[in-house]
């Protein structure tokens, strides 16, 4: 019974794309995640770096929603709501931190903070 429903649902999944759709979503999600990683690695501006982490969070969110739809349950979506909340909290913290740091160094360059090493 559930199998049938599942098949049905999956077949109906956003119509023009057919059964392969999940893969496309996942591809997008992975690409976003990768972009986030690359951005995090390459950009030196603290705010951009933070945005990259957000990108990765949302990549995960996207994947969750896609999977949720695929599995026909709401766990994924629920998860995403929480992720958004956390992301917001992190954003707040990040901003506060960035402001603090900027006041100290008059710069947003992350690599200026390299006193501690070894």
């Amino acid at each position: 019974m559930t199998d049938a429903v599942l098949m049905l649902a999956q077949a109906d999944f956003p119509t023009p794309m057919g059964v392969l759709t999940l893969n496309h979503y996942l591809f997008v999600s992975t690409a976003m995640f990768a972009l986030g990683l690359i951005g995090f690695m390459t950009r030196r501006n603290l705010i951009i770096m933070f945005l990259c982490t957000e990108l990765m969070f949302q990549a995960a969110g996207l994947a969750l929603i896609a999977f949720g739809r695929y599995h026909l349950n709401f766990d994924g979506q629920t998860f995403v709501i929480f992720i958004l909340t956390i992301a917001a909290a992190e954003a707040a913290m990040a901003l506060a931190l960035v402001v603090l740091l900027f006041r100290r160094r008059e710069s947003l360059d992350a690599d200026l903070w390299a006193e501690l090493k070894g």
Partner: protein, 524 residues
């Protein structure tokens, strides 16, 4: 609903305490403000009280909460005096001297305690997590406050640098394990850990766990490596520990690590330790992954610690190494259960407790010493000749460091023996040997600390000032005495850890109803 709530009573109590502390901390009266710490302590005690009676919580590790929360509470209690006076001391002094007036906006004391309690709450929530969402939230609740605590722990740029490194890399780590969660969900269609486990089991019975699921578990585990400061996510550790105040470093060495290990145990629990040729190991990819991480972590941590002249960095790297040791226990898994000596999870849980307490002791000694420049002790030269000026602290340092080293008969040794026996019982002889060799490497630097503190005469140039906050010294001595005391009560604690490690994998039959049987993504 209420049954579920019963599980989180400790967290609820902690949360209530947090609220009270936040309010009390805003009082203009210093004496009232000073109550913050006491209230927090009472709150933690109550939380412990609430945690211990909980017998069975369901999920993969139904009995883990009493032990885990008790342990968290105890170490939290030890951390509390250590954290005392981390912030606002200048402010209080200025007020007392009449140079400043109390300003609720500038005072951080209440927030600081509150963040600490929040973090503990998150940690306790991690222990009772039975769902990926819960786990994610709990982990974030554990971490987020610590980012701030690190940043504000001292007024220097170092803690800000530590904060920025910790926060950004932490966010990266969180994103990674979150993505792993997403993949796990994708592979199983559920976020409930037990159900995930059931689904995996069914998949395994049907010919193999879904590769996406495996990838998800792997990615999640790598993400957790940040929490436990394991290779390849260990690099921040030394910088952050050094930059933060010693009290916060001590907390960082325990709270996120405990959270990380609990999460790792839960996530490993979903795939279970019943794979491999003899059905007693993690699935091959996960096993190899953890094996490599464990070995790399042990070596990296110990080796990097050898060259340090900063005690805090040394302890940071040693904390990395200890994560490696504990990963051995995770790799071994719960074994047949029921006894301690062949139970890797119980060994990890006991090790966490022993490590937590010991670790607090070492950092507390550092925190109790003020150098001439007014900073906390950091360089190894700062603690040289401690025995002459403060014998009790020197003794505490000696005991704690030797326990970390694993010198019998201190508790660290028995914790390590647990890992040894369980690994041997699981046939992980190479890991045992590597563990042994690493303990020997660790002796290099632990001995240096012990020697400096306990044996060497004090340098003329380094004169250590009075203990800035007496509570910290108390924390140090208390931890050190617990290192010894724990030996006496080791048996009941170990029994509890054995109970706590009880792993109840789902029956395969249960998983038949699971919705995730037909995921065919990879096949197409």
């Amino acid at each position: 609903m209420t049954e579920k709530l019963a599980l989180v009573w400790p967290e609820v109590w902690l949360f209530i305490t947090t609220c009270v502390v936040m309010v009390v901390g805003l009082s203009p009266d210093l004496r009232v403000r000073r109550l913050c710490g006491w209230i927090a302590g009472i709150g933690i005690l109550v939380a412990i009280g609430a945690a211990v009676p909980v017998e069975h919580a369901g999920g993969l590790f139904p009995a883990i909460t009493p032990y885990a929360k008790g342990m968290i509470g105890v170490v939290g209690l030890l951390l509390l005096p250590l954290l005392a006076g981390t912030v606002d001391r200048d402010l209080d002094a200025a007020i007392a001297a009449g140079k400043a007036r109390f300003d609720a906006l500038r005072a951080n004391r209440a927030e600081f305690y509150a963040f600490f309690l929040f973090s503990l709450t998150g940690l306790m929530l991690t222990a009772s997590a039975d769902d990926l969402i819960w786990l994610f939230l709990a982990l974030e609740l554990t971490s987020l406050p610590t980012y701030i605590m690190v940043t504000i722990s001292t007024r220097g740029t170092r803690s800000q640098e530590a904060g920025v490194k910790y926060f950004f890399l932490g966010a990266l780590g969180a994103a990674i394990f979150l993505y792993g969660f997403a993949l796990m969900y994708g592979a199983t269609g559920t976020t409930n850990l037990a159900e995930i486990a059931a689904a995996f089991k069914a998949q395994a019975a049907a010919g193999g766990i879904n590769p996406i699921g495996i990838a998800g578990v792997a990615v999640a585990l790598v993400g957790f490596c940040f929490k436990i400061a394991a290779v390849p996510m260990h690099m921040y550790a030394a910088d952050v520990y050094q930059g933060a105040a010693s009290g916060v470093s001590a907390m960082l060495a325990f709270v996120p690590k405990a959270a990380g290990f609990l999460a790792i145990i839960f996530i490993c629990g979903t795939v279970g330790w019943d794979h491999g040729p003899t059905y007693d190991a993690l699935p091959a990819p996960i096993y190899i992954l953890l094996w490599v991480i464990a070995v790399a972590t042990m070596f990296t941590g110990n080796v990097l610690a050898v060259r340090q002249t900063s005690v805090k960095r040394m302890l940071a790297y040693s904390s990395v190494a200890h994560s490696g040791y504990m990963l051995v226990g995770v790799i071994v898994g719960p074994g047949p259960g029921g006894s301690f000596w062949n139970n890797g999870i119980a060994a990890v849980l006991f090790y966490l407790l022993s490590y937590g307490i010991t670790n607090v002791g070492t950092f507390a000694v550092l925190a109790s010493i003020q150098t001439d420049s007014g900073d906390e002790a950091d360089e190894i030269a700062d603690i040289r000749g401690l025995h002459a000026t403060r014998p009790w602290l020197a003794g505490a340092m000696l005991l704690c460091v030797l326990s970390l080293l694993g010198l019998p008969p201190l508790v660290g040794f028995f914790a390590k023996v647990g890992l040894f026996t369980s690994a041997i019982a699981a046939g992980e002889i190479p890991l045992v040997i590597i563990l042994g060799v690493n303990s020997a490497i660790a002796a290099f630097y632990y001995l240096r600390i012990a020697r400096s503190a306990y044996l060497e005469p004090a340098d003329e140039s380094v004169s250590t000032g009075p203990t800035p906050v007496p509570q910290r010294a108390i924390a140090a001595v208390l931890s050190a005495s617990l290192v010894v005391l724990l030996l006496v009560v080791a048996q009941p604690i170990v029994e509890r850890s054995v109970t706590a490690s009880g792993y109840s994998p789902p029956e395969v039959g249960l998983a038949q109803d699971g919705p995730a049987q037909t995921l065919t993504v990879a096949d197409e």
